[in-house]
Subunit: 244 residues, 2 copies
Amino acid sequence: MTLAIQNGDTAFRPTGGPFSMNELSSSRFPHSDSVVFNFATGEEVVGEGDPADHFYMVVKGMFRAVKVTRDGRRQIFAFYLPGDMCGLEPGARYDLTIEAVNAGSMAALSRVACRARMNRDPVFNSAVFEGATRALALAVDHMTMVGRSSAEERLAWFLTMLRDRSSAPGRHPPVVELVMQRQDIADYLGLTIETVSRTFTHMKERGLIALPTTRRVEILKPEHLERLAAADRDAPVWDRTSYA
Amino acid sequence: MTLAIQNGDTAFRPTGGPFSMNELSSSRFPHSDSVVFNFATGEEVVGEGDPADHFYMVVKGMFRAVKVTRDGRRQIFAFYLPGDMCGLEPGARYDLTIEAVNAGSMAALSRVACRARMNRDPVFNSAVFEGATRALALAVDHMTMVGRSSAEERLAWFLTMLRDRSSAPGRHPPVVELVMQRQDIADYLGLTIETVSRTFTHMKERGLIALPTTRRVEILKPEHLERLAAADRDAPVWDRTSYA
DNA sequence: CGTGATTTTGAGAAGTATCAAGAGGAGTGG
DNA sequence: CCACTCCTCTTGATACTTCTCAAAATCACG
C-alpha cells in the first residue's frame, strides 16, 4: 500500500448528493491530521480482526465491506463511494474486511485524533454518530431485502441505490457505472452470479435497462425500476456512510 | 400500558450468561431514575417513527424488534430477553417497532438521564457503546445467515442461539422454550411458516430434537445442531444486546 | 492474436413458496 | 366436564424460483 501525505485542502472531490454525511467531506474530515493511501484493485484496507485504530474516508474509487465464511460463502455488506466513511465501529477490532473494488484511495484518520476532534467539533461529532445510526438503518433495509425479495426486486433495488448515490444524477437516461463485478453484486444481494446475470438479461429484454457494456447500465424506465425496488419497502434512505 | 415505579434494587432478575452486557443488569441500569412498564402480549413498546426519548431494558418476558413493509412483508430483527437493552439507536426516532412477544415488563430510562449517566459512569458508557457495536456485528451474522443458508441451517442457528441465551444452560438435554410463535420464527429467519414447521418436523424425524409441546424444544444432539448452525459461520458471539 | 478471467446462456435439480386442507390446543360457555 | 370455536400449527400437493453444473461467448490484457 502506497502512502501519500495529503497537502491541505486539495485532493477531495466529494460527489455531492442529498446526504448529510457530506458535511464531513472535503473541508472537514481530511485535514492536516489525515493521510491518504492508495490501493490497487482488490487490495485490502483493513482485515477482519485487525485492531481498529483508524477511521477511513473514501477519496477516490470504490471499496467494499466483505465477510467470507469458513466454507467459502461470501457476503458483501456495503459499497463505499467517494465521501463515504467506514471503519466507524467503536469496538477494538474491525468486524469486516475492507477491500478496494478498483484502484482508489482512502484518507485515514487515527481514532485518537478523531476522538479529539469529536470533542472539539460538535458538527463532526454528530455527523459521525449519525453515520453509525444510518449504518444500522441500512442494515435493516438490506436484511429485509435479502430475506424477502425476489431476484428482480433485489437487482432493481441495487441499481436504484447506485443511481441515487452516483455523482451524475442529471443524465438522461440515468447511467450507472458498475465498478464491481457480477460476483460482488451477487454477494451483496444474496444471489448467485448466474441469477444476477439472468436477471440483467431479463430486465434488458423487458426494456427496463440497456447494457451498452457489461459494466454500464442505462436505466430506461426509472419509475418502473423504482416500483420494483420499493415493492417491499417504503421510502428508503440511501446512506453514503456505513461502518466496518 | 400500565405503570409501576420501581423501588430500588429489587425486581431485576438478570438471567446470567457469558455476556458482558450483563454488566448493565440489575445493579447498574435500573436505579432510581428508571421506571418499569408492564406490557400485555403483542402490545407495542415503541413504534417505528416515534421520537426516541428512552432506552429500555427487558425486566421480564420476551420482546421483538419488527419492521413491516408496505405490502405486508414482515421482518424481525431481534428478540430481547431479560437483561437485554434496546432502543439504543442514537437517532431522533426509532427505526423499528418493539412489541411484547408475551406478557412482560421493561425498565425505561430517559435518554437525558442515560446521557448524564454515561458521562459520569465510564463502565456504563462503554457497555452501551459495546452494545451498539455488537448489534452491528449481530446484524452482519444475521444477514449472512438469511442470505446464504438453508432452512435447516437457519433453524439450527436459531435454536442454538436461544439455547445459549436462555437462562437454564445446565439442563440435559438442553431445553429451549419457544415463547414466540412460528410466524415470528419465520419472519426472523426469512422463511415461511410452513417451511419452519416442516423443518422442525424434519429435525424431529432425524432425532436432532424432540418437541414435547409445540413451544418446547429438547435438543437431543447439540453438537450436530451446532455443526449445522455454524456451517457457514465461525464462532458466533451471541449478543444479548441490540438496538432499535 | 492468443490466453485467462469474466459473463452469459442452457438444462436440469433442488429447495422453498404457495395454496389448500386437516389436526392440535386453548379458552369459553353450557 | 364436555362441546364449540378460534387460532395456531402441521401436512400435502404442486408450482415456481433459484441453484448447480456445464459449456459457450465475450472481454481484458499481454
